[in-house]
Amino acid sequence: MSTTVQSLVNQPYKYGFITQIESDTIPAGLSEDVIRLISAKKNEPAFMLEFRLKAYRQWLKMTEPNWAEVGYPPIDYQKIVYYSAPKVQEKKKSLDEVDPTLLETFEKLGISLSEQKRLSNVAVDAIFDSVSVATTFKEKLAKDGVIFCSISEALQEHPDLVQKYLGSVVPVADNYFAALNSAVFTDGSFVFIPKGVKCPMELSTYFRINNGESGQFERTLIVAEEGASVSYLEGCTAPMYDSNQLHAAVVELVALDNAEIKYSTVQNWYAGDADGKGGIYNFVTKRGLCQGVNSKISWTQVETGSAITWKYPSCVLVGDNSVGEFYSVALTNNRQQADTGTKMIHIGKNTRSTIVSKGISAGNSNNSYRGLVKVGPKAEGARNYSQCDSMLIGDNAGANTFPYIQVQNNSAKVEHEASTSKIGEDQLFYFTQRGISLEDAIAMMISGFCRDVFNQLPMEFAVEADKLLALKLEGSVG
């Protein structure tokens, strides 16, 4: 590893600022009273409080899982603030009423909430700490019958829909962090695409953690009815704190007959400094249910941030001929740890799934792919193709793969391949000898390595993801 390249600037985390804004924060700690308080503050229907309390009681009986290839000091759940909201509590009619400091924050992050200024066709729901701040393009979407709002708003306006689908894919006691989320989640996005509607624009949610002690527990629920389709994006950043913050989100997707959901994530939470101090613990449960025939759920993720990433976006393929896809780039640098992958559960006939995972580990980081492909006895003709490639940069980085393949049907066809490689000195030499600088050469090679995944991202995000990766790796390649 040449030292000249090593010493190239390590791009500082540019989203690390803290917004000085008054917030309505409840004291740290978790108890049934806190849950009642959250529920009351949000003026929720009675079934929600029951849902939360059921989850909490289950959570108390559960123990924290420890099977992942990640290490972290024990989390004190009584020291976390479970509710923190920007103080202006009146629900905003238009963006003019939103606190200007908040708007500025989102401007800084490159998320323009002012609709007029926007040229691109993306509707945004912005979530600050625990509460949804603003949702754009709502009226336009409503014309097509598309509901896109924060989940607390949905609980007020469409409680029946929420009650019908919430917890139907990720049950309250699914796992430790999902149970915690079910008990205390404060906001998130709700998307409902009615029968036969193709959502006219990309939907997007932007998550921001601001408070140093707060955890972010958001809940996203996307329902696509028969023949509907939607593409949804999520982005996330957080300020730099020395302490670690917990992010335990739950995302549920439901696709009915012939529906299609595409869910893309560009995750750039604060990853901690070079010595691994601070950063977000990103323990997320994401699961999509292909309930109907011919339905399709596609996950695309670019994971670059977080001190620890621990998530497995999954597809449960119940409907016959349904399709699940998972495209992932996970990059770890410095002391970051990632244990990520997917689960493809084939239940229906002729279900198909594709897994493409690219892991890049640099510095002292550790990057694991953990995946499950399960073909049930009734899944005649199921088909899976998995490919997981790792690239190691520097000889202190680790790459692990743990693919589980469980097949109980002989008509299924499952293929898995994995490889590990490095950026070769001779490849770099070839580039530089043609007059291309070292940084550009590395950026190009990484971008080529991740091409299969970036191709799945919507255009603007693909460009952003490409740049993000190049920035993250600067100073670590050679």
């Binding site: 190691l392 790459a399 692990n400 008509s411 293929e415 590990t420």
Partner: protein, 438 residues
């Protein structure tokens, strides 16, 4: 994952059953006798290791897909030396290999059977025999090797050591190339019994040998074979090891092969698993020097309700290691194949080239496969790949053969055979290849 509260009481009583069974196994193992004080010490030490552990359940990651609860219901007994009945053992001749007719060690129920073994015209420098009959000097020497492999503390390995009263020993002196293949024949005749065969193979620097380890049976009843084979390869030594398991379909078989490879040594292993109701083989390769070569070929053929589990651990610790692994499973009826292949490449093992392939052929709609290839890599200048496939016979291929006048049944047989052939052809002995016609 947490245990749902409702099943807590059930789980704890199941845990008690497992603990009781492990004590029962240990007590049985310890009944075998030994007069050697150093062996007594080794056994006691292993017994402590067993007591510290629990009998595995499917909640243990290593045993997640292999359920041993059927074994818990089996009341095992001690094996007696008297069971070596000559009349029945005439049948054993069918397992003899003409290539190794004068270099055969036979163990009946884990006990050495000198009248069946055949050791003639062997080169000077080759020590072959059973541990307790070896000269004291040789025994002294073997103490530094016996039960000293990495992973000796694992519960079934320690259980074997805790009852160790004798072992098959093969030692090849420095610079000696043994041309004759050595046949280690382990036969079980007793039921219900706990049978614990043990083998120790030492290849000194620059030596070479071929070993056939064959587990066969002459009875139809239930028994539990818990075998351990330890292989030590010195610098530049070469070993070609074939392990065949042909236990009866009521038997349980847990086997361990632990291999330690010094600098530039070459180890080739071909494992064929055909028998047992539940069979598990754990192959542990530990590299201790640079530039080692490891080739692992595995074939598991299962039908009925058999369970066949292959675990392999390849731990590379030095640069320039090469490993090639292929594991093929053919699963019919309601059988269940398990594969878990681990490859560890720490920072020191730069320039490692590791390849692993697991291929599964499912012949029935009720057959089941659980596979988990696993790579853990820290070194950056390495080439590591793994692949896994699960599928059935291609209808196109069957059709092609049918169109050439071969009936569907024969066509399928032909294709299954072709699938297995890649592994079978790596067996170095023609007579043994003949035995393993599917």
């Amino acid at each position: 994952m947490s245990i749902p509260s409702t099943s807590v009481s059930v789980t704890s009583s199941a845990a008690q059953t497992r603990a009781a069974y492990l004590s029962h196994l240990l007590a049985l193992a310890q009944r075998s006798e030994t007069t050697l004080p150093w062996l007594r010490e080794l056994r006691d030490h292993a017994a402590v290791r067993v007591q510290e552990q629990t009998f595995p359940s499917t909640r243990d990651e290593e045993w997640r897909f292999t359920d041993l609860s059927d074994l818990l219901a089996v009341e095992l007994a001690e094996v007696g030396g008297a069971e070596v009945q000559a009349a029945k053992l005439a049948e054993l001749a069918k397992f003899y290999l003409p290539e190794a007719d004068q270099s055969r060690l036979v163990f009946v129920n884990g006990i050495y059977a000198p009248q069946l073994s055949s050791l003639h015209h062997l080169p000077e420098g080759l020590t072959i025999g059973n541990l307790v009959n070896l000269p004291e000097a040789a025994q002294q020497h073997l103490q530094t090797y016996l039960a000293k492999q990495t992973g000796a503390e694992e519960v079934f390995t320690a259980l074997n050591t805790s009852g160790l009263s004798d072992a098959a020993v093969v030692q090849v002196r420095k610079n000696l190339v043994v041309e004759t293949p050595i046949h280690l024949l382990f036969v079980s005749t007793s039921s219900p019994a706990l049978i614990q065969p043990r083998a120790l193979v030492i290849a000194e620097p620059n030596s070479a040998l071929t070993i056939i380890e064959d587990h066969v049976t002459l009875n139809e009843g239930v028994y539990f074979t818990n075998s351990v084979t330890e292989i030590w390869l010195g610098d530049n030594a070469q070993a070609n090891h074939t392990r065949v398991q042909r236990d009866n379909l009521a038997a349980f078989h847990i086997g361990k092969t632990a291999v330690s490879q010094a600098r530039t040594s070459r180890y080739t292993c071909t494992v064929v698993n055909l028998g047992a109701k539940l069979a598990r083989h754990h192959l542990g390769i530990h590299q201790t020097g640079e530039q080692t070569e490891t080739t692992l070929n595995g074939l598991t053929v299962l039908h009925g309700e058999q369970v066949g589990d292959t675990h392999s651990t390849i731990a590379l610790t030095k640069p320039y290691g090469t490993t090639r692994q292929i594991q093929k499973n053919i699963v019919d009826d309601r059988a269940h194949a398990v594969f878990n292949g681990k490859v560890f490449v720490p920072k020191e093992a730069q320039l490692t080239d590791a390849g692993q392939l697991n291929r599964n052929l499912l012949l029935s709609s009720k057959a089941r496969v659980d596979t988990k290839p696993q790579l853990e890599i820290v070194a950056d200048n390495v080439k590591c790949t793994h692949g896994a496939t699960v599928g059935q016979l291609e209808t196109d291929e069957v059709f092609y053969l049918q169109s050439r006048g071969i009936d569907a049944d024969s066509a399928r047989k032909l294709l299954v055979h072709a699938f297995a052939y890649e592994v079978i052809e790596s067996i170095p002995l023609a007579s043994l290849r003949q035995h393993i016609q599917l």
